[in-house]
């Protein structure tokens, strides 16, 4: 007996010679891939016809935040030189991404920053000193994440992405109108957690926006050694979500694209992957030597595409970059920096017994023993 003669085998046609077999049963979900693919070029607003449509108030808000953000970055870097911060990964050059990510969110939404994104957290309203706790080294997360809905700054790359998905999913299950925006670098997209997070988000249609800041490098490793894809935004179609490519130094463009993604998520339209093409102007951190792996010429080329300059051109074109405006903006930024410097110059209050707090809701027996030991040691030190 051939298989053809088996019962059921001829369901889709007789066994007669020349008969065409049926195609595979159409049991697969069908999604049109076309709308999920990103454009070939990063979306831009500034320097294009779209610029005219940007509200001046928004432009000024973005500008003020960018100037403040840049100042925050230079101040934090200065604090590393003064030994007040253990380390600082600067987002200079990437301020547009940091600021736009913060501004598109509602109060009830959640931000999931990576270790480089203290500025986004600060732009969302977090106290800069609290945001810098991790990098100063007096504790890990320096703030109550619930207060401003900012998840802990995340050092293990891409591991915060599934957290964002889970939180957004939980909020949706509860019927809460909450969107999560999660930030990751180009290097972080190579981690398995990136893949798993995007897949869960798409399957669950969770209200999450993934913002990849593609700044060209993962420490010393250039994008070409990180991926062979046409763009990182092209990964989206493989999860069944839209991928958007945007100029990461163009604050209004980011604001628009991220804003749309957030709205889409809020409406129940599911997650979006946004790739922002930008550049890290400083070394990876103050401890890094960027001249080992990239040319000054490349850095200079990007200096010509500075996110603040881009907005200032448009402000100038609208005659809004008045000396009074400029000095007021600058002053506000200086004030923030001065206050930050001053507060960071004070030694943080430290209690070594904190080591044993919050390991568990209630300390185990052995933790009680160990905290007694440390207390005795410290008392003995004091006596000496």
């Amino acid at each position: 007996m051939t298989v053809l003669e088996q019962p059921g085998s001829s369901r889709h046609g007789s066994t007669a010679t020349g008969d065409r077999p049926a195609p595979p049963p159409a049991w697969r979900p069908r999604v049109d891939p076309a709308p999920l693919l990103p454009d070939e070029e990063p979306y831009r607003v500034l320097g294009t016809d779209a610029a005219a449509k940007v509200d001046s108030a928004l432009l000024k808000q973005l500008h003020a935040q960018l100037v403040r953000g840049r100042r925050y970055n230079t101040q934090a870097t200065a604090l590393t030189r003064q030994g007040r911060l253990a380390v600082y990964p600067s987002s200079t050059g990437q301020e547009a991404c940091e600021v736009a990510a913060a501004l598109v969110l509602e109060d009830r939404d959640w931000l999931f920053p990576s270790y480089r994104d203290t500025l986004a957290a600060v732009a969302r309203g977090l106290d800069p000193v609290q945001a810098l706790t991790l990098l100063r080294g007096d504790w890990h997360t320096g703030y109550d994440p619930h207060e401003h809905r900012v998840a802990p700054l995340c050092t293990p790359l891409a591991t915060q992405l599934p957290h964002a998905v889970g939180l957004a999913h939980a909020a949706r299950l509860k019927g809460d109108d909450v969107v999560a925006l999660a930030m990751v670098g180009d290097g972080g997209t190579s981690e398995g957690d990136f893949h798993e997070a995007l897949n869960f988000a798409a399957v669950w249609q969770a209200p999450v926006v993934f913002l990849v800041q593609n700044n060209g490098f993962a420490i010393s490793v250039p994008l070409a050694k990180q991926t062979a894809a046409p763009s990182l935004a092209h990964k989206a179609v493989g999860y069944g979500m839209p991928g958007r490519l945007v100029d990461g130094n163009d604050a209004p463009a980011l604001h628009e694209v991220l804003g749309e993604a957030v709205e889409r998520a809020r409406r129940g339209g599911g997650p979006t992957l946004v790739e922002a093409v930008t550049y890290r102007m400083e070394a990876h951190t103050n401890a890094d030597d960027a001249t080992r792996y990239r040319s000054d010429a490349e850095v200079e080329e990007w200096r010509g595409h500075d996110p603040i300059a881009l907005v200032e051109r448009e402000l100038a074109a609208r005659d809004l970059l008045t000396p009074a405006y400029v000095s007021a903006t600058k002053e506000a930024a200086e004030e923030m920096a001065g206050a930050l410097r001053e507060r960071m110059n004070a030694d943080p209050a430290l209690d070594p017994m904190d080591l044993f707090a919050h390991v568990y809701a209630a300390p185990t027996g052995q933790l009680r023993e160990q905290s007694d030991l440390l207390r005795a040691e410290i008392a003995a030190e004091g006596e000496q």
Binding site: T141, P156, T159, G166, H169, L173, N199
Partner: protein, 356 residues
Amino acid sequence: MSTAVAAGGTTATGRKPATMAQALTRALRDAMAEDPTVHVMGEDVGRLGGVFRITDGLAAEFGEDRCSDTPLAEAGILGTAVGMAMYGLRPVVEMQFDAFAYPAFEQLVSHVARMRNRTRGTMPMPLTIRIPYGGGIGGVEHHSDSSEAYYMATPGLQVFAPATVADAYGMLRAAIASDDPVVFLEPKRLYWSKADWSPEDPAPVAPIGRAEIRRPGTSATLITYGPSLPVCLEAAEAAREEGWDLEVLDLRSLVPFDDETVCASVRRTGRAVVVHESAGFGGPGGEIAARITERCFHHLEAPVLRVAGFDIPYPPPMLERHHLPGVDRVLDAVARLQWESDWTEGGSGGGPEGSA
């Protein structure tokens, strides 16, 4: 302790005996019914009810949002559960088998275990991670690992390993109710063990962090947990014939660890053997033996011995019986205790009752 009964029989109370698997299912059900923030998630936990059927019926009763099949990605499962916990839910995650929890190791160690500490208590992780674990069921490679050493060595995690039907229910309820993360190790080969236990009237169990004396004795203490408890009880019965009256102690939770009960027993008996299935080297037995010795040195008439799985990758089904610590290996260790005690200078030399 639940009374072990023969399969199919009825018990002293005249009730149909329950399996550990049934008790676990019931614990999940009751927790979900009582607390709407409890969510069960994992591979095949929905319609199928899990490959061991522990989540059977939950999706039907509570809906797929409360008991949901996830994509096949353990880091993703645990990572999204972390996010759900951040939003106030109490996720109960099922890892399909011991070795398939390893992809989630980074999430477990770097986030689940530390989140409360990192955030000064503002972001607790009330997560339960259920892991069917250990061997003895003829599983092919990567289906029989005893991975508790990894979890014990990770501050911030609690590690539970029930060995009885009543504890399976009571401890799983406690795990889900705990505001700290629990790695909940379910001994696969005891899933179908039975006891006189009723879901309508679940016996209260000892609080978490308390070891239980499953069999009182005076000659030496067998210290164990999870799948090795029945082995130790059987060994204690067999040892009786040789004149030894062994105490059998079920740790129940490895973290928190009950130094008090363990040390009280060892101080009484003067001798101890730690028994577990996990590889000996770097396994839980080292910690346990070391703690006991630190605390009870002057009461010991012999070194604390360990009977454990060999220091090898878990063997294939046809060879696993040679690997698993069985009654004979436990009795040999007990005999060695005796030999060591005789050696003790100034020791009481107190061997088994009625020996010599």
